[in-house]
């Protein structure tokens, strides 16, 4: 038995456990960290599949950027730990039942009789100088040029949407305009009124 299956089972077990923990742990910071762990192990599994580029991107983008942002948000918001788990027990029977049902059904379908090695065939082994990145790039820019462009449009849209929804002047907030503040002159603020002196009563 080679080392790969052993590694696979180790990473997979951690992946599944980490995923379960994401849903079950009480503290959202822990949950986010569990998710990070899940991403890591997932990346490791992908590495075993020789998908190096994707594995690295997963870590760079999700762990490096997305999850950090996520953690920031969680820490900045004051989340009521008790309330977020409220009703967990109440919904557990129904939810658990459905979840188990889906699990069973997925096991039936996704078992070895449909996805076993004899069905899908052994994946191709590549030589050491094979570049996963290059292959992906070539496919992406030739065969999938059109979807790739649409993905670009999607990103532009995401920027527009995000800016639309956040860049706005709330009617109830008071904001400062430094340019206005700097260019302010005395006349704008002070009004000198001349008036006759009044006699002391």
């Amino acid at each position: 038995m080679s080392i790969e299956p052993i590694l696979f089972y180790i990473f997979s077990t951690i992946l599944v456990l980490a995923s379960v923990a994401v849903v079950t742990v009480r503290n959202p910071v822990y949950a986010a960290l569990c998710l990070v762990l899940a991403f890591f192990t997932c990346a490791a599994v992908w590495l075993l599949l020789e998908a190096e580029f994707l594995a690295l991107v997963l870590i760079l983008v999700y762990v490096g950027a997305v999850m950090v942002l996520f953690l920031f948000v969680i820490m900045m918001l004051d989340i009521n730990l008790v309330r977020s788990k409220e009703g967990f027990i109440k919904y557990l029977p129904a939810g658990g039942f459905v979840a188990i049902l889906i699990l069973i059904e997925m096991c039936v379908v996704l078992g070895p009789e449909n996805f076993g090695i004899e069905i899908t065939g052994e994946p191709l082994k590549h030589a050491a100088d094979y570049s996963n990145t290059k292959e992906l790039g070539v496919t992406l820019y030739t065969q999938y040029a059109y979807p790739f462009e649409i993905a670009g449009a999607l990103l532009l849209l995401a920027i527009v949407a995000a800016i639309t929804l956040t860049m706005r002047r709330r009617p109830d907030s008071k904001y400062q305009d430094p340019a206005e503040q700097v260019s302010v002159r005395r006349d704008d603020r002070v009004r000198i009124v001349k008036m006759a002196a009044e006699k002391k009563q």
Partner: protein
């Protein structure tokens, strides 16, 4: 030509729309100009079509103008079938309608519903044209119902009069009975022929001649007989054949122009037209023809008898209409379709003439309709007198008038016919001739001759009607007198109708009569020798003797035969029978159904029950929309699980 056909049908409708929607804004003059122009355009275009189809001998047009939808092989469309028969009907309808439009300008001068009236009569013209020009059963049914609707509206035109409302309701209900049969007939056609197009159905009819169906299990009925009789029940309603005749006399509650246009000249002939149009089907069923023949004969004879005892000038003409419709129906039953349609045409002219003349008299008499209070009007109203005389002579079939040719042809045709019931029909129509002459001239003498029985006030104001009234009278008198002489050769014995009417060889009675036919003049001379002529003369003479020479005899006869008079006066008890049995019975049944069936079961249980159930369901189901995101998501997951379990696991 397609464009012209459309113009013919739509011009009156445009007039009706203008009169109906904008009448009160554009005023009376503009209204009658618009509607009359519409009908005039129609009439002129009909002349063009007449030239095209009949004189130039172009092939008949049969095609769809507009297809609404095609469903399962059924085409729901508006289409025209323009052949010789249609052309004739179009000419008659548009001409009489035009005359009536002009006449109405004078007759309805002071009526507050002037614009409404013009809207209705133009609408009627449109509907009637749609009916006769149709090339399929669906449009036929549309026209059929549309003329029924307009007739209903017009009988009740003076809707504040109790009797008018009673009359229009009655007309509506009786026609509904007929229409029920008619609709069943159309349904049967649709079911067995799988098409509503005339051409398809007629082409397929010979193949269906031997098909039998079982409506009551165990009894085989010929399909075509069933269809023909059902369609004829519709025709009986519209053309007022016994026993569905009861509405027509009452329909005289409507203004006189309407009686002329709808209840004499055009709408009531729709049934005749229908049977003639369906001749390829009727020819395949002798039973149906016999049925038609007997119904027609009964109507012709017994309705004429009723005319003898009426005192209302319009009712006399109305009963004569019934009787004449009976003649036409008899002709159809004897397979002499051409004679039936021929009589339809001549009758349209002289009956419209008689009604309009009656209207003219009624105007002069300040809306007095009782002939016992008239008399001696000859010297006051010469034009009306002479035109009425022409009309009456035509009605009794005086040799030379148009009525003579058509009626004599029918009588001869029945004489020659051999189908079951023909001998009875022959006897009936012969006696009918005597009676027709008797009641026609009874009315004529009582109105125009003899003592002046009106009150002084009325007498002082007696004078001839204005030109818009007399003009149409004169224009109608001309065809009443001449059209029979001019057209009998072509229409009856020539090949006028071409393929539009189909007659089985063994029953082609007109061809038998036609064998001896040379000229119209010869036919006239021959007519002098037939019993029909002498029956008519006898009737005329009797009327002259009783009502002019010995007026006291009328009262004497009345006393002698009081029960008979009473029976006739009460329309053989038909009205009472209908009122007591059908009306009261259906009211009682209706009450029972309404109390238990409708109020309790349908309203209480089904309607309110289901409405309550649905309402309750709705309000309950509404709560599933809780507004909670996780509920929504969970519903989606449940959907996923449901579908997965159903389709992947099972």
């Amino acid at each position: 030509m397609k464009g012209i056909y459309l113009i013919i049908a739509l011009a009156p409708m445009i007039g009706a729309v203008i009169a109906g929607f904008f009448g009160s804004r554009i005023g009376r003059t503009a209204t009658h100009l618009a509607t009359t122009a519409g009908v005039a355009v129609s009439f002129l275009c009909s002349l063009v079509v007449f030239k095209h189809i009949v004189l130039d001998g172009s092939a008949p047009f049969n095609g769809a103008i507009y297809t609404w939808l095609v469903s399962d092989g059924f085409r729901f469309e508006i289409g025209f079938l323009i052949d010789e028969l249609t052309t004739l009907m179009m000419m008659v309808v548009t001409f009489v309608s035009l005359m009536v439009h002009i006449y109405t300008i004078g007759y309805m001068k002071d009526d507050p519903g002037y614009q409404r009236f013009f809207c209705y009569i133009s609408l009627f013209t449109f509907s009637m044209l749609m009916l006769v020009m149709s090339n399929n059963f669906l449009q036929l049914f549309f026209g059929w119902e549309a003329v029924g609707l307009v007739s209903y509206l017009l009988i009740g035109f003076w809707h504040k009069r109790e009797s008018a409302i009673y009359a229009n309701l009655k007309a509506f209900l009786v026609n509904r009975v007929g229409d029920f049969g008619f609709l069943l007939g159309i349904a049967a056609v649709a079911m067995y022929f799988n098409s509503l197009d005339y051409a398809d159905v007629f082409a397929a009819a010979p193949l269906m001649a031997d098909v039998t169906i079982q409506i009551i299990p165990g009894y085989d009925w010929s399909l075509l007989t069933v269809i023909c009789i059902l369609l004829f029940i519709g025709a009986m309603g519209k053309s007022a054949q016994v026993p569905l005749h009861v509405w027509l006399p009452d329909s005289m509650e409507g203004p006189t122009p309407i009686s002329a246009l709808i209840h004499a000249a055009t709408m009531v002939t729709a049934g005749i037209f229908l049977v003639a149009r369906m001749s390829p089907m009727y020819e395949l069923s002798e039973v149906a023809l016999s049925f038609v023949l007997i119904i027609g004969a009964v109507t012709a004879l017994f309705m004429g008898l009723l005319g003898l005892v009426q005192n209302d000038i319009k009712r006399v003409v109305a009963y004569s209409t019934l009787s004449q419709l009976g003649y036409m129906t008899v002709a159809l039953g004897a397979s002499a379709y051409a004679a039936g349609v021929f009589h339809l045409m001549t009758h349209a002219f002289f009956k419209a003439l008689l009604f309009l003349a009656a209207g003219s008299v009624i105007i002069a008499m300040h809306h007095e309709q009782d002939i016992r209070k008239m008399g001696g009007l000859k010297k006051y109203m010469p034009i009306t007198y002479w035109t009425a005389l022409i009309g009456s002579l035509a009605l009794i079939g005086f040799p030379g008038t148009s009525g003579f040719f058509s009626k004599d042809a029918i009588i001869e045709a029945v004489h020659a016919s051999t189908i079951p019931g023909a001998s009875f029909a022959y006897a009936a129509v012969l006696i009918g001739v005597f009676i027709t002459a008797l009641y026609s001239f009874r009315m004529f003498f009582l109105v125009f001759h003899g003592k002046e029985r009106m009150d002084d006030h009325t007498r002082e104001h007696l004078r001839e009607s204005p030109w818009v009234v007399t003009g149409p009278l004169i224009l109608l008198a001309i065809p009443s007198l001449l059209i029979g002489y001019m057209t009998i050769g072509d229409m009856l014995f020539g090949n006028y109708f071409g393929d539009s009417i189909v007659v089985h060889e063994s029953r082609d009675v007109l061809a038998q009569i036609g064998a001896g036919f040379t000229t119209a003049g010869g036919f006239m001379l021959h007519g002098l020798l037939t019993p029909a002529f002498w029956f008519a003369m006898a009737g005329l003479g009797t009327a002259w003797y009783i009502y002019l020479q010995r007026p006291e005899l009328a009262g004497f006869f009345k006393e002698q035969c009081l029960p008979l008079f009473k029976l006739l006066d009460r329309n053989y008890g038909c009205d009472e029978f209908n009122d007591k049995v059908f009306a009261a019975g259906s009211r009682k049944l209706g009450k029972v159904l309404s109390d238990t069936g409708d109020a309790k079961i349908i309203d209480g249980f089904i309607v309110n029950g289901s409405a309550n159930t649905i309402g309750w369901l709705a309000s309950v189901a509404r709560f599933t929309q809780t507004g909670y995101l996780y509920h929504y998501a969970f519903v989606m997951i449940l959907g996923l699980v449901g579908l997965l379990t159903l389709f992947v696991m099972v």
